[in-house]
Every structure is written in C-alpha cells, then in structure tokens.
Amino acid sequence: MAKNTVAPSEKQTTEQETTSVSASLARSGNQNNLRNIGLIIEREFKNRVTQRSFRISTAIILILIVIGSFVPTIVAYISSVSNSQTKVVVVNNTGTIAGMNNVALQQYFKASLNGTTTGQSTSTKPAYSINTVTTDTISNFQKQVMDGSTGVLLVLNRTPAQDVQFTYYTNANPVSDSNVSNVQGVASQLSILDRASRLGLTPDQTGKLFAQPQFTVVNIGQSQNNRSVSDIVAGYILAYAGIILIFMSVYLYGVTVATGVAEEKGSRIMEILVNAATPFQLMTGKIIGIGSAGLAQMTAFVIVGISALLIQNPIKAALIGNNSSALNLNITGSSITLLLLLLVYFILGFLLYATLFAAMGALVKRQDEVNNAVQPLTWLFMVGYFVSFFGIYNPDATWVKVVSYIPFWTPTTMLMRIGVGSATWWEILLTIVIMIVSIFVCAIFAARIYRYGVLMYGQKPSLRQLFKIARMN
C-alpha cells in the first residue's frame, strides 16, 4: 500500500487505517474452519444457557405463560363457586301461559334459565332456583328482595289486550345485573309461546316457526375456500402471536449478539480470539450459538404455552362441568403448517438481523453504547412489524405484498399473510429463497465490518466508510 504522509487529510488516513486492519485479518485462516465454528457455537450456547439471568428470565416467563393460560379457567371456576344460587320467585297471576300451569311454568323457567348459562350441568347446583306461586299480595316477596333472601321477583300479569306483562323486582345494581337479560330472554320466548298458543298453534308448530334457517357462508376470495371458519380464526390468532413472538425474539437475541460482541471487545479477549480464529468464524459461531440458545428458549415457551392452553378444556370440564366458553383452539393440520413456517421465518429473520447486530456490536467502543448503536436496526425491524399489524385488515393489498418480499420485513409480514390465508405456496417459497440469499449477502457484509471493528477502539466510522470497508477485498 502506498504511503501517504504528505499532509494526509482526516478522511484519507481513516481509509488508510481501515485498509490495513481489514486486510490483515483477511489472512488465509480457514484452518479448521468448521471445528473452530463448532467450538465457538458450543461455548456461546453453554455460556448463554448456564447464565443465571437467562435461567431466571426463562423460568419467570414460563410461569407467566402458565398462569396466563390458567387465568380464564380460574376466574370461571371462582365465579362458579362463589356465585350462589339466585332465588327467583315467579308470581303468576295469569292462570295458564301457553297452556302451562304453575308447575309446568316452574319447570319451563328452570330449564330455560339454567340451560342458557350452564348447559348440561350435573356436578354443581344450578344457577337459578325457581319458585312459582299465585298471589295478589306481593309485598312479602318485595321485602324478601329488599333483605336479599330472594334475588329476583318476577310478577306476571295480563294486560287488557291479553298479552303477558312482566314486572321485574330486584335489589341489584341494574348495570352489573346479568340476571335481567337472562330473565328477559326467557320472558320474550314465553310471551311468543303464549301468543302462538292463543292463535291456536300447537307447541310443535311454534317450534317449526322459529327454527333456524339454513345459512351457509361461502367465501369466494382467493385461497380462503378450503378453510373452515375455525381454521381461519386459528390462523389469525397464530399469526398475531407469531408476529409478536418473532419481533420480540429476533430483537432480544439480536441485541444479545451485539452485546456479546461488545463484551468480548470490551474485555479484550478479542485480542486473543482473533489470534486463534478468524473474525468470520467468531461471528458465525456467536450467531449460531446464541441463536440455538434462543431457539431452545422459544421452543420451551411455545410448547408450554400450547400444552397449557390445551389442558384448559379438560380442567374446566372437570372443575365446572362447562365447555361452552372455553377457547376452542384446535391444532389442526393448517395450524401446524403455520407453526412450522413460524419456526422457519424466525430462524431466517434471526440470522439476517443477527449478522447486522453483530456488525453493530463490533463497532461500539463500550458495552453501554450497544443500545444506541442498534437503534437503526430496531427501526428497520419495526416497519415490518407495523405493516403486519395494519396489513392484517387488508392482506391482499399490493403494498402489503410488496413489503412482504423485502427480506427485512418478510418474516413478520409473510407470517401475517399466511395466517390470514392470503399467501400462496410459491410466494412462501420465493420469500424464503430471497431471505436465504440476503442472509449470505448480509453475512459477507457484516463479516467485513466485524473484521474491521473488533480491534478498533477509536472513532466510529460513518455509514459511507462502512460501505467502503464492505466493498474492499
């Protein structure tokens, strides 16, 4: 290299320095390439998973996941235990309604009220107890409502037009009283039955009159036609969860990579390491090592999370004897495909960003500068994150499609598109190929910056200089 000592300008000298450093570490160092990378992967992985902070945070998150998935069950259980029966007194001053006398009416209320809320409940007592009487003096019952021994007093009268008129007495706050709507629902049914019987219809005829019509939804939009509604719902849920998971984990482990590099640089062990292994080996080993530790952690989260959700239904059935309000997340074939693609996009996304994070980590002087240095990468990643969240309402829009082909944004955006069913298999394949190519390009770029950065403790180079470094040799 020609020496330029005649009043060298700042720029020239930095370039000079750059050339000499990066050139020096480019020596033919592929001695034991794979062996060294393997050793570094092993060290990084072990170092990560034996760290107390890693173990504690993993344990805490696992506990939170389990608690989170149990919360709905626990809430349902507590409310079912603590909610004692609501005593309903029905004062029937109408004679027979829809051909039902007091006894039949009591049965009807019992079946309707308890049936609508707890289904085929067998193990615990029903939510409502019904007592039907006929009396003109309701003041006694009103007193009972006042002192709380009776929950609801329902008085049935006939209007001059012979319609049944319902009067509902309660002591509860009308805003939070869920009994009103339940009772009102039964009342309107009863009223219809009563009118129908007065019109001379048999209960059977009335039943036919109000039978649900056949109603089929056919979606003729692309690629939705083969999916059942529950598949589509599961797709949305998995897509949302997957996008958040990918965003958090890629960012988290990317920062771990950058911090790890800065740490080695700060502790000066880098000076020994570059004598034993090439920068490329060091970078690759670090990324894969930390990546596998991250993947192990993520896998634990996902497996524990899904198993915890899956055992909710049996637990709920055993505790409350109630299935109807549980989350129906069926792990069907298409959900499993989505999970696999989540894994693929996580790995690709991590590799792509980790190379850049490693390069950024190599450029900082001290560890506490890492967070600032990786800021641009965070913003870059955020774009894809937001596109996936807003694009979910319009997944077939051209701009969403375009964004999903840009490798930095592919993982989150494609996952969203696959989740809502707007991506075809060849698009999935194509984006994966694009990502793999980009990973190689970024790895080469990053390895050069890494090579330059790891032993530099001086001024941070500008973006323009970075490109120069990357273009050299």
């Binding site: 290299m1 000499s20 020096s24 020994i272 004598n275 034993a276």
Partner: protein, 317 residues
C-alpha cells in the same frame, strides 16, 4: 534466523506511531522489548502477531512471512486482561486451547500440569473475575502457553504480580526457554530483563534507540557508575567541577556518579586525596538497564513532561 522485523512503519491517522523500526529475535532466545509508555511496544507486538499490518516493511519468521505462520504457533499475552470475566478458569482455558488446535484431553493434561506448577489448582472452577489481579495474570499466562506455541509474545507479563508470583512466572519463562520457545516480552521492571534476556531493544517514539545483547548495551553506553564515600566530607562539592563526572545521587551513605568511559577512575581518587578527604569506600560498577533507560528515554520523555519518567529521572532524594 528467528524473528526478523525489518524497517516497519505504521501510522494511525496523522499519528506516526512506528518509524522505521527493525529488530531481530534469535530463535530460542528471550528478548526484552523496552520503551516508555506510548513508545509503540503494543503496536509493534500486534504487528508481529498480524493483528495489525505495517504500512511498509516486513516481519518474517525463519525467512517466511509472518502471515503464513499458522496461528497456533503464536501465543499472545495482551497488556490488558483478555479473558472472559464471568467464565470459570478451566472452561475458558480449555476453550482457548482447543480453539488453538489442541484436543480436549491434551488441553486438560496441559492445564493440570500448569495449574499445579503455578500453585493454583484450587482456582480451577472459579470465575476469573473472582480472582486477585496476580492470579488473573497467571491465568492469562496459561492462556498464552497452553497450546504449546513456538513463539510467545507477552505484553507486560509481570504487571500486577507480587515478588513471589513474579518468581513463579520467571521460572515458567525459564522453563519455556528450556523447551526452546522464542519469547518476546515488554516490561517496566528492568531487573527482570537483566536477569532473563540475552538481547534487548529499547524504543522511543516508535524508533529504536538502543539494541543488542544486554552486556553489549551496557558496555556501549560508554560510561560507568562510581560510588564514593568520604568520612570527613559527605557533600564533596568539588566533584561537580570535575570534567567527565556527573553526580547522580548524594545520599547519606554514599555519592553516586556517572563517569565517562574515557576517564580514568583513578583521577577521582587523586582529586579526593588532594582535597584531604578520607576515603572509606570507592567502587566502580556497570550501569543498570534502569539507568540506561532513564538516561536515554528519560531525556526525551522529559520534554513531553511525562510525570512518571520525569520524577524517576530527577529522583535525587
């Protein structure tokens, strides 16, 4: 043959750090690399290791370009601590040795031997950050030699060691010498150099100022030290007027002076007798490397007003 550094130059930006530096380290010898802080020692070592590359000039080992020497033949002890602070001693030493090509069993055998030799087998499973500075330095040395390199390049290996541990390290260096290793080390403790090294180079501001075998360097300095004690005249002010004599210390027990090599020491005795002095002690000695270092480097360092060197050079207490 051995290691040859020829006419290397290195600049960082406008800073011209190394200027036309040359030195030769014989194969199998111990070589002292001296210089004040910031003289360019670490930069030169990094260039020998091919971590940095000189702007021009060449560095060869037995005639072969240093870049073509497999890395595991080199052992480097950096000046600052270069270890994972939170990793256990055994784990990181094994990792580094294996990264340098050793098998796990071979690395373990080496580790056992050296931990025993350094009297620290109990620290095997301790984290480095929990150890004292001296013990960390020992671990750092093990990281340098465990993979059995041919050439050891050590940046201040004695820093932070107490006299007992310094002796342990000295013995270890001599053991490596017996095994035929070539060693280059820098230090500020010049007694270690006199004790261990055959050859020495002193650099200042990136330039060689003194080079050669320790004995030659002392002789070449062209002056000797004389110590004089007079029973009836502890000051002996007349010495100051004497040509070729420079008093360096006036102490309670004796006066120390540098005399030029062409000056006959008898002259001092004659002069003393002329002044009616009663001589109780007169001795001649070689200058120590410390004296030479302070004389040659101290002068230039003084202009920089480097406080450490300045007090040493002017230390006439």
């Amino acid at each position: 043959m051995g290691l040859k550094v020829e006419h290397i130059d290195k600049s960082f930006g406008q800073l011209h750090v190394i200027k036309d530096l040359s030195m030769e380290v014989k194969e199998g010898s111990i070589f002292g690399f001296l210089g004040a802080n910031g003289a360019g020692k670490t930069t030169t070592m990094r260039m020998i290791l091919d971590i940095l590359r000189p702007d021009c000039g060449s560095i060869t080992w037995n005639g072969k370009d240093m870049r073509d020497i497999p890395r595991h033949n080199l052992g480097y002890l950096p000046e600052e601590r270069g270890l994972y602070p939170k990793v256990e001693v055994q784990e990181q030493l094994l990792f580094l040795a294996r990264l340098n090509g050793l098998s796990k069993t071979a690395a373990l055998a080496q580790l056992d031997e050296w931990l025993e030799r350094f009297e620290i087998p109990q620290y095997r499973n301790r984290k480095v950050e929990e150890l004292s500075k001296g013990n960390q330095q020992k671990i750092q040395f093990l990281a340098t030699i465990l993979h059995d390199p041919l050439i050891l390049i050590m940046d201040e290996p004695f820093s932070g060691l107490d006299p007992v541990n310094a002796n342990l390290l000295k013995d270890a260096l001599l053991e490596m010498h017996r095994r035929g290793k070539t060693m280059i080390f820098s230090t500020h403790q010049l007694e270690q150099v006199e004790e261990l090294c055959e050859d020495v180079v002193i650099i200042d501001k990136g330039q060689t100022i003194i080079a050669g075998s320790v004995r030659e360097v002392k002789r070449q300095q062209g002056r000797n030290v004389a110590r004089l004690k007079l029973d009836n005249d502890s000051e002996a002010r007349w010495l100051d007027a004497l040509e070729g004599v420079q008093v360096t210390k006036r102490r309670q027990d004796y006066i120390e002076m540098h005399i030029q090599s062409n000056l006959n020491p008898n002259l001092i005795v004659e002069e003393a007798l002329c002044h009616g002095a009663i001589i109780s002690r007169f001795e001649l000695g070689e200058p120590s490397l410390t004296d030479i270092f302070i004389e040659r480097v101290g002068k230039t360092a003084l202009q920089d007003a480097s406080p450490v060197i300045a007090t040493q050079a002017g230390g006439m207490k």
